[in-house]
């Protein structure tokens, strides 16, 4: 009896095992690839959660793990990781995809050895096969390399992800663009026009913009002024906006690794006291002394002067962007304008939901504008370059960029959809039904490509600190410029 039972159960086990084995053999033929985790190192909102959910639907086997840090630390992490790879070829826990912001693009372009050349990659059939699951997402054919998708993107955005040896190290995500977001209710109160065409006509230049700010401030009560109310959230943002309207910033493209530094040019430089940085006065003529020496390039001084002029005019609150005061001020109406890249629209919506319908978007003074933008790269030591490449191709395809724009406001870098009515006709009720698609598109098309060099970020920060010193009245504008020159010489040495 007991023996009988034993044999029967044994037979049962054997049967289950056989069936199980059969299933195991049958499975790969029917279902898809084995489970894979793609590690993405990123910052801010480069990778949008809704898109990840959509990707999970078409690729249930792929798990995407985001590791978010602040911008500068995320770049430090990547440096450390690449350094470990370059020195010892140890993989550690590598990212499969790393997001590189445009201000660091010059730095990373100088190190193509850290990245997989995307010309050598080729999309698998995974996306094409999954197409039937979500017909609305764009069809990614198999066998695509970076060269095959190049023409989808804005040429200058594409160039920011191209290494000096012509290798493609990053695919552009969005274009920042830059326009002026303004509060119609506050403009009305100050007796200014509220219609976006009329508002845009108020400030064709930065000088006019500052003048409008002054006019606005005359209508602000003394009590409100004491509370820190201003026209623009932070005048420091004018610097970057004006800088990007030039044809060059701190570097010229001379075809070398780092670019040629042009932050200084020969000119009439002030003679200064090394300790106080104050300009020396000629004891005889009682006039400030100058000598022939290096001065900051005219583009920098132009943008600098606009910023200082706006600061002196007292049109800015001194709230720093992305601080708690900034978020509060957005709701409270502490400031009436923000220089807003397209991606900032979603931030405003999130932080000041009660101001819905009170905002509108006018064009940027002085021409087109841009701020920000990111490339997705695949480090050379990535564990799953194939899956990462498939993901990037899907995520940054025109169709997905359009969805991201409609949902989160990030402006597409794919020029092939710039004529799409879904983009040009897109209106945002939060911004008084402004046709944000066509507004940002117009600004972006006015832009001239600017060459970003290796130490762009460090130079920007040194100049930002210099403007901060003037705003805090620690140094005069001239003293601060002298200090900036010393700092830049040090930073670029």
């Amino acid at each position: 009896m007991s023996k009988n039972k034993f044999t029967r159960s044994l037979a049962g086990v054997a049967m289950i095992a056989t069936v199980g084995a059969g299933l195991l053999v049958a499975a790969p033929a029917k279902a898809t690839a084995p489970a894979v985790t793609i590690n993405i190192w990123t910052f801010g909102d480069v990778i949008e959660p809704a898109m990840l959910r959509a990707y999970k639907v078409i690729h249930p086997e792929v798990t995407i793990a985001l590791k978010k840090a602040d911008l500068d630390p995320s770049m430090t992490n990547l440096t450390t990781s690449c350094s470990a790879y370059v020195q010892s070829h140890h993989l550690g826990s590598p990212p499969d995809i790393a997001a590189v912001e445009v201000s660091y693009s010059g730095y990373w372009r100088a190190y193509p050895q850290c990245f997989t050349d995307m010309r050598t990659l080729s999309t698998s059939a995974a996306n094409a096969n999954a197409q039937s699951l979500v017909p609305s997402s764009s069809n990614i054919a198999s066998g695509l390399s970076a060269n095959d998708i190049k023409n989808n993107y804005l040429a200058w955005r594409w160039a920011q992800g191209t290494g000096y040896n012509d290798s493609v190290i990053g695919i552009p995500t969005d274009v920042g663009g830059l326009e002026v977001a303004y509060r119609t209710d506050l403009f009305k109160k100050a007796g200014l026009p509220t219609d976006r065409a009329k508002v845009s006509a108020l400030w064709p230049t930065w000088d006019k913009f500052i003048a409008v700010g002054k006019q606005y401030m005359t209508k602000v009560s003394a009590a409100d002024k004491k509370k820190g109310v201003g026209f623009i959230d932070n005048v420091g943002t004018i610097y970057a906006a004006s800088m990007n309207q030039g044809t060059y910033k701190y570097y010229n493209n001379n075809g070398t690794d780092a670019g040629q530094l042009v932050y200084k040019v020969q000119g009439n430089a002030p003679v200064y006291d090394p300790k106080t940085k104050a300009q020396k006065i000629d004891p005889k003529t009682k006039k400030p002394m100058f000598k022939k020496d290096w001065v900051l390039n005219p583009n920098i001084t132009k943008a600098w002067d606009y910023t200082i002029k706006a600061d002196n005019a007292g049109i800015g609150t001194r709230i720093g962007q992305y601080t708690s005061d900034w978020n509060v001020g957005m709701t409270k109406g502490t400031f009436a304008t923000i220089l807003a890249p397209a991606w900032m629209m979603d931030y405003i919506k999130g932080q000041a939901p009660t101001t819905s319908g009170k905002w509108n978007i006018a064009s940027l003074p002085g021409g087109g504008g841009n701020q920000g933008g990111t490339q997705l790269t695949i480090p050379k030591w990535a564990a799953h370059p194939q899956e990462a490449w498939d993901f990037i191709n899907w995520y940054l395809a025109p169709q997905q960029q359009l969805t991201v724009f409609k949902t989160y406001g990030l402006f597409p870098s794919t020029k092939v959809i710039y004529n799409d009515p879904a983009l040009t006709g897109f209106k945002d009720p939060f911004f008084t039904n402004a046709p944000v698609g066509s507004i940002y598109l117009t600004g972006i098309q006015k832009l001239q490509p600017i060459f970003e060099g290796k130490l762009e970020r460090a130079i920007d920060q040194a100049i930002g600190a210099g403007l901060g010193r003037v705003a805090a009245k620690k140094q005069t504008s001239l003293q601060s410029q002298i200090q900036v020159m010393i700092d830049l010489d040090k930073a670029t040495k």
């Binding site: 500068d72 001194r318 140094q475």
Partner: protein, 328 residues
């Protein structure tokens, strides 16, 4: 000391050599495992020593070497530059600003804190205080709070426009103080954070030391007609001498490493527009990892080490003097 420790046990008077213990029979008293006193000790300290060699000494040697190069970790290019890195650091204004900031923050946080800690300890020792355990526990709470959380909360308290402290200042009709841009005010803000975090901990150390002062001293002092203040200055303070030295040394070590508080307050790695919040450690990090100058950063590290060595030497001399005074 050895005499006292072995008294009453059948041990030879001379301090036992750990290497000869095997030959001796275990003592009748059963004073633990004799061999534990000996070479086994090396096994037990081995984890620390090995860790120290890998994570302490090796990096020091490596960065000492690095300090003489211009080094790019990504392209692996190493250019010999001799003493140039050191020369540039010493010529760099930011280095001297950071050094000054570090010492100013150290002084602002250490001395008021010590006075407060002794005061708190005196209150805690008081006979009349109720719920002693409760107060002692409360004092330690700031110390177990995360530095970043402390810095963020204090950063909001010190906010220029809407911060609570400036609201109070504004209420009394004074102009708002910019606790980030104003150099001295920003150091005060950082010192307040450090003091808030460490004053309770130091109070307990002082309290322990105060409780060790024998009551007889106080009794005889009061018999001699000394009031509470006289007792404090003539009995309590001399009794705290060693503890004060200890707290000072620990505070100095901490003071030279201040990083998270000023960084969070400044919001930028360079310590603000005129580096007013940059400390030595922040300066080191900024130059090395933000400006990507690794050789330069290594040179800064070595200079910091030299500064620490000088301060340690001063500490050592002071401690020795205090100790020798005790023997007298």
């Amino acid at each position: 000391m050895a005499d006292i420790a072995t008294k009453g046990r059948s041990r030879p008077k001379a301090a036992p050599s750990p290497w000869k213990q095997k030959k001796r029979k275990p003592s009748k008293g059963g004073s633990g495992v004799p061999s534990l006193n000996g070479k086994w000790a090396y096994l037990f300290i081995a984890p620390f020593v090995i860790m120290f060699l890998i994570f302490g000494l090796l990096p020091v040697l490596y960065s000492t070497n690095l300090a003489f190069y211009q080094y790019d970790p990504l392209s692996l290019s190493q250019t010999w530059v001799g003493w140039d890195n050191f020369k540039f650091v010493l010529a760099d204004e930011t280095f001297w600003i950071s050094l000054g900031n570090t010492f100013e923050i150290w002084a602002l946080s250490t001395f008021p804190q010590m006075l407060m800690a002794i005061g708190f300890a005196a209150i805690l020792r008081s006979r009349f205080l109720r719920g002693k355990t409760f107060w002692r526990t409360i004092l330690l709470v700031p110390n177990i709070t995360s530095v970043i959380a402390v810095a963020i909360i204090f950063g909001q308290l010190f906010g220029r426009d809407y911060g609570m402290i400036n609201n109070v200042i504004g209420f009394f009709g004074f102009p708002h103080i910019d606790f980030v841009e104003n150099s001295f005010a920003s150091h005060v803000a950082v010192a307040v954070m450090i003091t808030w975090r460490w004053v309770g901990y130091n109070s307990l150390i002082f309290l322990a030391s105060m409780l060790a002062i024998p009551d007889e001293l106080y009794e005889s002092a009061s018999l001699d007609g000394a009031g509470a203040w006289k007792q404090f200055t003539n009995v309590t303070l001399p009794g705290l001498k060693n503890t004060i030295t200890f707290v000072l040394i620990v505070g100095t070590i901490g003071g030279l490493q201040v990083y998270a508080e000023p960084l969070t307050l400044a919001g930028t790695q360079d310590g603000g527009s005129s580096h007013q919040l940059s400390t030595l450690t922040m300066y080191l990090y900024n130059e090395t990892f933000i400006n990507m100058k690794y050789g330069y950063g290594a040179a800064i590290g070595i200079l910091i080490t030299i500064i620490v060595l000088i301060i340690s030497a001063i500490n050592f001399l002071v401690t020795r003097r205090v100790a020798s005074e005790d023997k007298r």
